[in-house]
């Protein structure tokens, strides 16, 4: 009996049960039941994915489901990877969700939608026909959309606009994907992936290119690719935390999945310009995302933009893989692809942890603004520690989950210079520069997040009354933290799975990604053994500490801060997130175009005495301003102008008909 089939079946059953439980059970029971069932659902997904990664596969055809199309399901290693990631995230987020939802009230609707969303995340990678993929895709979009707006009572207008943006952008993406895939299916005379695979080589380059561009737009928008990212930093922060985690760590990945599935698998690679486009857009996305994150002071918004950055890096890797593949260097392609996929996994791990941590903070203080936080390390130590671990991963520093994957990505790019072609020579250095810049800015960003959010002293009453999160939330975070640590120290453990996925897509590639003992990660003559690095550092630290202890004659004592002998320190003196980011913002002034305004209220008596100085600064999403607003305004204006078409005059209405009839008759008369 096929384990994948069983696991998927169980997952479906669990999803149904969870929805039912959410609808019928009373609030308190409901939260627990849904949490447990969804956690099991995630586990089932994890198992199914794991089985596929271990070499299993599964295919099925359900003709009666989904009218006029029927459902085709098939799971291979690639699907398995994304399924496993999604399952793992669902598992952690569901456990966490028990505590969170109990606090948030756990409305019936939201609770019923959660398992649906989770299941759709497993369904998308399993789809094996255009219709199935689109149905699962749209199911995912609908459920997540409703979950995003489920918090509208608290959030008010921001939630509403987030929901509208998300709905429209995701549907834009859907239209693009639908057009592309349906075109592909029509051209290949088959609706199933197998048939398309068979028929794709016969397509005209125009059709292939067109299809690719369309799916790039569609899947790219889901993956937050600049300039189609606008929905992401709006929707992710506004959603309830477990939902944000699921969206940021699992849903966006599926954009990458779609691109790989269609571009590399169904279309079997393709022209070089496709992937150069992906690569360049990925680089842009990475840099733009991290820049916005670096100057953001809303914690969840910061994390959302960091998601944009990491997805940019992943797209960069995928693009590089495509370029190498198109140039016939399948080993390099395999390396780049493995790097991208590994980063997908690691990003999922640390981003889940970070979002859950941010949710715990929100849950404890009700504040998302880093400027209002601070001093949490004393009040919620566990959360702070776990968040710091996640931040280490996001900053791609040794000991962090992001480090090995970004290392692998750089390796593939560095070796890429072997590929001939002037474009490559021009593009690859820029790509490396983008990766490097985003890595550097990521360090600054997450030092800011941890330093101003959790360290120092509380800057608001809310932060002072903060308390540690309940057990279930901590449990969810700890699970993720374990995953982070594992990926950070033993990335090589993911080697076999990655190789299976990669060789499945690029048959030409040999064992480009090898893994040795103790999770050492090697790529074409370079090796990274994060375990040794971290262990060595820790050993050295301990030795030093021992030496110091011996050297110390008197025990350490505590004393008030010196602070240059300044009067007692108040929280207002601290550097806030905004002030921390100020130099960076100044450096990248031209890119970010921040809007700051300063109004000085002079004293009543004299204009020279200042009574109050109000300074406000906002860093709007510039792309959004420059690109979207004009479009929106044009459409609005068109709509207002169009009102004249229905101005109420019955004569005008009849006139339409009269004109049409006369025109028609004239045409007919002329046609004789």
């Amino acid at each position: 009996m096929n384990l994948i089939a069983v696991a998927l079946g169980v997952a479906a059953a669990l999803a149904g049960a969870a929805v039912l439980a959410a609808v019928v059970l009373p609030a308190r029971l409901r939260v627990v039941a849904v949490g447990v069932l969804s956690a099991l659902l995630g586990t089932a997904g994890l198992l199914a994915g794991g089985a596929a990664l271990a070499g299993g596969s599964f295919a099925a055809h359900l003709p009666l489901v989904l009218p006029l199309a029927g459902v085709y399901v098939s799971v291979d290693a690639l699907s398995g990877l994304f399924m496993a990631v999604a399952g793992a995230v669902v598992l952690a987020a569901s456990v966490y969700g028990v505590g969170y939802a109990r606090h948030a009230g756990g409305g019936r609707g939201a609770q019923a939608l959660w398992p649906l969303f989770a299941f759709s995340l497993l369904l998308v990678p399993a789809a094996a026909s255009v219709s199935t993929l689109l149905a699962a895709w749209e199911l995912m979009a609908a459920s997540s959309l409703l979950l995003v707006v489920s918090g509208h009572r608290g959030g008010g207008d921001s939630v509403r606009s987030a929901g509208v943006w998300y709905a429209v952008m995701t549907h834009l993406g859907l239209v693009a994907i639908l057009t592309g895939l349906v075109w592909l299916a029509a051209a290949a005379h088959s609706e199933t992936f197998a048939g398309i695979r068979a028929g794709a080589p016969g397509l005209s380059p125009v059709a292939r290119g067109g299809v690719f561009v369309l799916v790039l737009i569609g899947f790219g928008s889901k993956a937050g690719m600049v300039p189609l990212h606008a929905w992401l930093p709006r929707a992710h922060p506004e959603a309830p935390t477990p939902v944000s985690a699921l969206m940021s760590a699992a849903m966006v990945n599926l954009g990458v999945y779609g691109l790989v599935r269609v571009g590399l698998d169904l279309l079997g690679g393709g022209a070089r310009w496709w992937w150069l486009t992906v690569l360049i857009l990925g680089a842009l996305t990475a840099v733009y995302g991290i820049l916005q994150a670096a100057v953001a002071s809303d914690l969840k918004r910061l994390l959302a933009y960091s998601t944009v950055e990491n997805l940019g890096l992943i797209l960069l890797g995928v693009g590089a893989a495509g370029v190498f593949h198109a140039s016939g260097h399948d080993e390099l392609a395999a390396l780049a692809l493995a790097a991208a996929l590994l980063h997908t996994v690691t990003h999922a791990a640390f981003k889940t942890l970070l979002f859950l941590g941010a949710g715990a903070v929100l849950h404890a203080t009700g504040v998302r603004d880093l400027d209002e936080l601070g001093g949490l390390r004393a009040r919620m130590p566990v959360t702070s520690g776990l968040f710091a671990l996640g931040a280490l991963g996001a900053a791609a520093l040794p000991g962090g989950a992001g480090f090995p994957s970004e290392w692998l990505l750089l390796q593939s790019l560095i070796h890429g210079l072997a590929v001939p072609g002037i474009t490559v020579v021009v593009v690859l250095p820029v790509a490396v520069g983008a990766v490097a810049l985003s890595a550097g800015l990521a360090v600054a960003t997450f030092v800011k997040a941890v330093g101003t959010g959790f360290l120092a002293k509380p800057r608001s009453p809310a932060a002072e009354q903060a308390h540690e999160a309940p057990v279930s939330m901590l449990a969810g975070m700890s699970l993720t933290a374990l995953a982070c640590a594992g990926l950070a120290l033993l990335p090589g453990a993911a080697g076999p799975a990655l190789r299976r996925v990669v060789t499945g897509l690029l048959p030409g590639s040999g064992a480009a990604v090898t893994e040795g003992v103790a999770g050492r990660l090697s790529a074409l003559g370079s090796t990274l053994s994060p375990l040794w690095v971290v262990a060595g550092t820790l050993v050295l630290a301990l030795v030093l500490r021992g030496l110091l202890r011996m050297a110390a004659r008197t025990p350490s004592r505590s004393a008030p801060l010196w602070d240059c002998g300044a009067p007692p320190l108040t929280a207002r003196m601290q550097y806030t997130a905004t002030s921390f980011a100020e130099p960076l913002q100044r450096v990248f002034d031209d890119v970010l175009a921040p809007e700051s305004d300063l109004d000085v209220t002079p004293h009543a008596e004299s204009a020279y005495l200042v009574e109050r100085v109000a300074y406000s600064r906002a860093v709007p999403d510039r792309i959004e301003h420059r690109l979207y607003n004009p479009v929106i305004h044009t459409v609005r204006r068109a709509g207002l102008a169009a009102r004249a078409l229905a101005n109420g005059s019955v004569h005008r209405y009849l006139g339409y008909g009269f004109t049409a009839v006369v025109l028609l008759l004239v045409v007919l008369a002329a046609a004789q």
């Binding site: 000991g399 120092a456 050492r520 053994s529 040794w532 690095v533 110091l548 004659r553």
Partner: protein, 320 residues
Amino acid sequence: MSADTVNTASILVSLGQVTLVLIGAPLLAGVMRQVRARLEGREGAGIWQPWRDLRKLLRKTRIVPEGTGPAFRTAPLLAVACTAMAAAAVPLISTRTGLGPGADLIAVVALLTLAAAALALAGLDTGTAFGGMGASREMTITALAEPTILMAVFALGARVGSTNLPQIVAAGVQHGGRLASPASLLAAFALGVVVLAETGRLPVDNPATHLELTMVHEAMVLEYAGPDLALVELGAAMRLTVLLGLWASLFAPWGIATATGPAALALGLGVLAGKLALLAVLLAAGEVFMAKLRLFRVPELLAGSFLLSVLAVTASFFLT
């Protein structure tokens, strides 16, 4: 590749490098201060002064400021440990270091960044205005220096087809002619600028000043005293040493041991000491005639070096 083999000898080499840097770093700092003093017409305190300072500081009682947390307490230790780990990985005396294949250039850079980040967090943890200011500025500079380093790595690694330090250095030793190529010259200059930035030297930062407007690194560590301060100072010196050493081994690898024989090692040690001393003197001399840049001019400098490293990459492709 011979560099891949890890054996007791190579591990000993690494340990040796660590201890060497631990001991030698303050000396290096001493040399620089002495040179500056002399050039400025002062007597100078002698090259051992840093060591005396450290000894003094280490004897003092360890003071934990109120309201600071684990970040503040562990940061100095972590910084030193990271730098030491880097020292173990970078081929200073010999290309046969303990991490062997794991001695990756990117890893080394990451380690040094980690050290900087730890101190920045410590600065923020104090909750003082100065701590935050220092952290913010330090992180800005690091963030901007990172690309340059990695581009330089790209330029050097692309040629060898690996970012493994021993391999790069060994390649440099084998065909020294390459070192004269425009690529490596440009990379050398770019990396040099970054080294200055990363180690908080002029014109980016002035280690000798405590003037609040200009402080970067010093502002971060203002709250440290006693043994912790000693660690911080030591860490800074080690950072300088390791980076200079790295620079030397990358662009002037001559004399570095490619084996683990005692003679070779001794030679390597001597040559290294010479190179470092020379670099230190040059650096100190340079600083005498240089003024600190305004903080917001620093990015221009770094941008310039980034440009150079990009040129280095393209050059390494076109001109070889």
